[in-house]
Assembly symmetry: C2
């Protein structure tokens, strides 16, 4: 292998697919190795443990999400569309990611501190983005926001509420519809009449 980093990337991509499908516990090192057409033990030359791979995967996925979100809000002009895009992309991605979480809550596995770290960092980033969208909306006289910080927090709380049914993975939840309803309420309470 010319480049060690390059190979790590391959492992992360490949393992990521398997983790997202089966979760942490049900994914075996053998499967990851087979997917890479390698001997199981070879992987330990690049990663310390299964957990380290998982950590790298989650980190990687979080970065992808961040990129998707910024692209989504850059792709449109109006604050309303920005907000709508942001919320939609966020929830769609989360649906994909929910397997990882599901994986973590699997049993004991409390010792995944890094997840909490990522989560906190991500929460702060999200708040900043939401505030920015709100701020610009207010600037352009489209939103009517008294305090962008608290409003952003309120929106974030709502989105987290929507995540819950994804955790418990009840297939019947129609996220799309609920999202639209929430956006509707949000805008009609926020848009200047």
């Amino acid at each position: 292998m010319v480049n060690k980093e390059e190979f790590r990337r391959k492992v992360i991509i490949s393992a990521g697919q398997i983790f997202s499908r089966y979760g942490f516990k049900k994914t075996t090192m053998d499967e990851i190795a087979k997917a890479l057409k390698m001997g199981k033990s070879s992987i330990y030359y690049y990663f310390e443990s299964k957990e380290e791979i998982f950590e790298a995967v989650v980190l990687h996925e979080a970065n992808i999400l961040r990129n998707e979100l910024t692209t989504a809000i850059k792709s449109v002009e109006s604050p309303i569309d920005k907000m709508r895009n942001y919320v939609f992309v966020r929830m769609k991605s989360f649906e994909k990611l929910s397997n990882y979480y599901n994986a973590i809550f699997d049993k004991n596995l409390d010792h995944f501190d890094f997840i909490e770290t990522i989560r906190e960092k991500y929460d702060r980033e999200e708040l900043a983005i939401l505030r920015l969208i709100l701020y610009h909306g207010a600037r352009e006289n489209i939103f009517n926001v008294a305090n962008s910080e608290y409003t952003a927090l309120a929106i974030q709380t709502t989105l987290k509420g929507l995540e819950v049914p994804l955790f418990w993975k009840k297939k019947e939840v129609n996220i799309e519809n609920r999202l639209n309803a929430i956006l509707d309420v949000l805008f009609n309470g926020i848009v200047k009449k």
Copy 2:
């Protein structure tokens, strides 16, 4: 429990969801039990073994598929639509079922004779349905079929060819598009000009 059969049904439904998600091997008795909010050992009061549950699930799912298929072709009049509906429902269902198969090919597990039995019976049924659609199409002067038996076989072979990528579970396959292409070829080679 008032009715033993009733409870077996519940197990089949619940276990079916888990099997279809994780496959035979990755699904544990504990999970099935938890999903039913029961102790693992209680399930053995109703089923001999994990395999017996799996067998019941596959059987149950096969029946559902049969029903969906007959409904799908009854819901439309023209032979072309019947054929199109049949093919679509079949492939869509198969996508869902592919996990079961995937489960079986997992490793050794050759001893699932009953799968082969179901498969053979199902193949015969499918051929009969295809022949009927073709026959009626020819009757109504919409299809131009020399020998409905061989034509039905040809169609069945094509559909099986489409199943293969589902087995190897390459997410990128766009079954929908390939199906449309195949149907297009099929009809334009079959419909009277």
